[in-house]
């Protein structure tokens, strides 16, 4: 509601220019939402370090996010690896460097596509489900009930989901990365004339600890972003939002998570490769 009055204020100065006014309102709303999302993010960080940490809630979320997503993440990784293998071989063959296909698959999957595919799958699957669950709790006054009973909703609802996403995304990325390399191996060895031992030797040669570390840093950041966006969109729905509000929040959560992941990926690539000079 405060947002509404501020929105009116923002619109007050440009009555003569409706388009400008609309841009101003939209910009104000976007900035306001970013501010609120960051407030929730910092509240979550603060609550993580405030004892007690409820391990039973964390374990429940770890199982829900991790175990239940394992199969879909591995299948996605496997087929992404297969596509990379096929495309890589076809593109490299005219230059007579098709032997580098293993390196191409390995580096792409480890540094970029492993964390990215895992994050995309979890943004659609977990981020949206977090938003749906929390926004339903909001419209049915369950979050108000938590507060009235003296329990901090951020600590009780957001912290376990945030930690579980931050832990499980890198864990699942390891599985999807292995599945991706396996997919590339299966595609290249079965469809083209590439020796399996040679492929594996090339993978071993190009798999560095630094690359794995980069992958895990990216995956952890993506996990934090998915949980933060999912929880924020769930909490930000007005109590009177109803079923329509829950639907809109859930769709919005998936879309914003995906865009956030892409932006974050660019920023991390710039920091890790350009500024810190990692390879």
């Amino acid at each position: 509601m405060n947002q509404q009055s501020a929105t009116r204020e923002a619109s007050g100065g440009s009555r003569a220019y409706p388009i400008l006014r609309r841009i101003k309102i939209r910009l104000h709303n976007v900035l306001s939402e970013i501010g609120q999302a960051f407030t929730l993010f910092f509240q979550t960080l603060f609550q993580i370090f405030r004892p007690p940490l409820q391990f039973d809630l964390l374990v429940k979320q770890l199982l829900l996010i991790g175990f239940n997503s394992l199969a879909v993440v591995m299948v996605s990784g496997f087929f992404t690896g297969m596509v990379l293998g096929v495309q890589g071989y076809i593109q490299l063959k005219p230059f007579a460097v098709e032997g580098s296909v293993a390196r191409f698959v390995c580096v792409s999957i480890v540094k970029e596509l492993g964390p990215m595919i895992t994050a995309f799958v979890l943004a659609g699957r977990i981020g949206a489900s977090i938003t749906a669950e929390l926004s339903t709790m909001k419209v049915t006054e369950q979050i108000d009930a938590l507060e009235v009973m003296g329990t901090n909703p951020v600590k009780y609802l957001v912290v376990p989901r945030f930690l579980a996403c931050s832990i499980m995304l890198p864990t699942l990325t390891i599985f999807s990365t292995f599945a991706g390399i396996a997919g590339g191996f299966v595609a290249v060895v079965t469809l083209f004339d590439v020796n399996g031992y040679f492929f594996l030797a090339e993978v071993q040669k190009n798999l560095f600890v630094g690359s794995v570390l980069i992958s895990l840093i990216k995956a952890t950041s993506f996990g934090m972003a998915i949980a933060a966006v999912g929880c924020y969109k769930g909490f930000s729905i007005p109590t009177a939002g109803g079923a329509e509000g829950v639907g809109t929040a859930t769709t919005g959560s998936a879309v914003i998570s995906l865009i956030t992941i892409l932006i974050l990926d660019f920023v991390l690539n710039h920091i890790l490769f350009n500024i810190l000079g990692l390879v």
Binding site: M137, E147, V148, M149, G150
Partner: protein
């Protein structure tokens, strides 16, 4: 016990509460009446600190609570039990887990001790034997009873009821009203009931207050309320109060009953 002083609350340009003053005495059942959208439920949320007032003060047992930090508000909230309009049961938990929630979160009681308290509270609301059911498996009246058992779990000093009979059939409404009266007599708790259901209001109230245009326009015992000569209040009472109240030999009500044809609803 609770003192609401000069509270204002606006949502955008809509002025919901406009300098509201209200006294909630210890041990009484105060019914707050008012039309839909008059800010009754908002007042409960301000009292519990769920939403902040724009200005004014809320005093709870000599402490001004709107200036308290989150940790102290959480301690204070443990003295308050609230039954929400929708019951607001946690649908991922069983009935027993719902009732046990506060005990589980804020005490070191063993599982057996918690189980015993949960059974006691469910018996208090006449709902023994539903411990393992999920909220989705309960009827509307049962959900309200479980919500009430959950509100009672921590032995609160104050129970807030937000529209306790809304959406229930007349028989269940009567059962809930009876339950509110019984709990008040047995536990001697202070109760605040927000409702626009006049049958329920006159059935449970020891004191009543009417909110209109964001202000308190009437306050008193049920007998005093029906003697207050205020057209808005009397319309409210006339249209909704039970027959036994309306049949009383009351000159003001008689006068309004005589003028009923002139009231806005009759003209419409």
């Amino acid at each position: 016990m609770i003192s609401v002083r000069n509270i204002t609350k606006n949502f955008g340009e809509k002025n919901v509460l406009n300098g509201l003053n209200l006294e909630i005495p210890r041990g009484e059942t105060l019914v707050i009446m008012g039309r839909s959208g008059s800010g009754k439920s908002i007042l409960l949320k301000i009292i519990t600190g769920l939403i902040p007032a724009d200005s004014g003060e809320i005093w709870f047992d000599g402490t001004e609570i709107s200036k308290l930090k989150a940790k102290k508000i959480n301690v204070l909230r443990q003295k308050i039990g609230m039954l929400f309009q929708s019951a607001a049961l946690f649908d991922s938990m069983t009935v027993a887990e719902n009732v046990a929630f506060m005990l589980d979160q804020h005490t070191d009681y063993s599982k057996q001790e918690i189980r015993k308290i949960v059974d006691e509270k469910l018996e208090l609301v006449d709902l023994a034997g539903v411990q393992e059911l999920r909220p989705a498996e309960l009827s509307g009246g049962m959900r309200k009873r479980v919500g009430l058992a959950r509100a009672l779990a921590f032995n609160p000093e104050v129970i807030l009821y937000d529209e306790p009979t809304t959406g229930l059939d007349p028989v269940t409404c009567n059962e809930i009203n009876q339950l509110i009266r019984d709990l008040h007599e047995r536990l001697q708790v202070t109760s605040v009931v927000v409702t626009h259901d006049m049958h329920s209001a006159f059935s449970v109230a020891t004191r009543m207050a009417m909110i209109h245009d964001g202000k308190q326009i009437a306050y008193g015992t049920p007998d005093e309320i029906i003697n207050i000569d205020d057209p808005i209040l009397q319309q409210f009472v006339l249209f909704g109060a039970p027959d036994q109240i309306l049949n009383m030999e009351n000159p003001i009500l008689k006068e309004y009953l005589g003028r009923e044809a002139e009231l806005p609803h009759a003209k419409a």
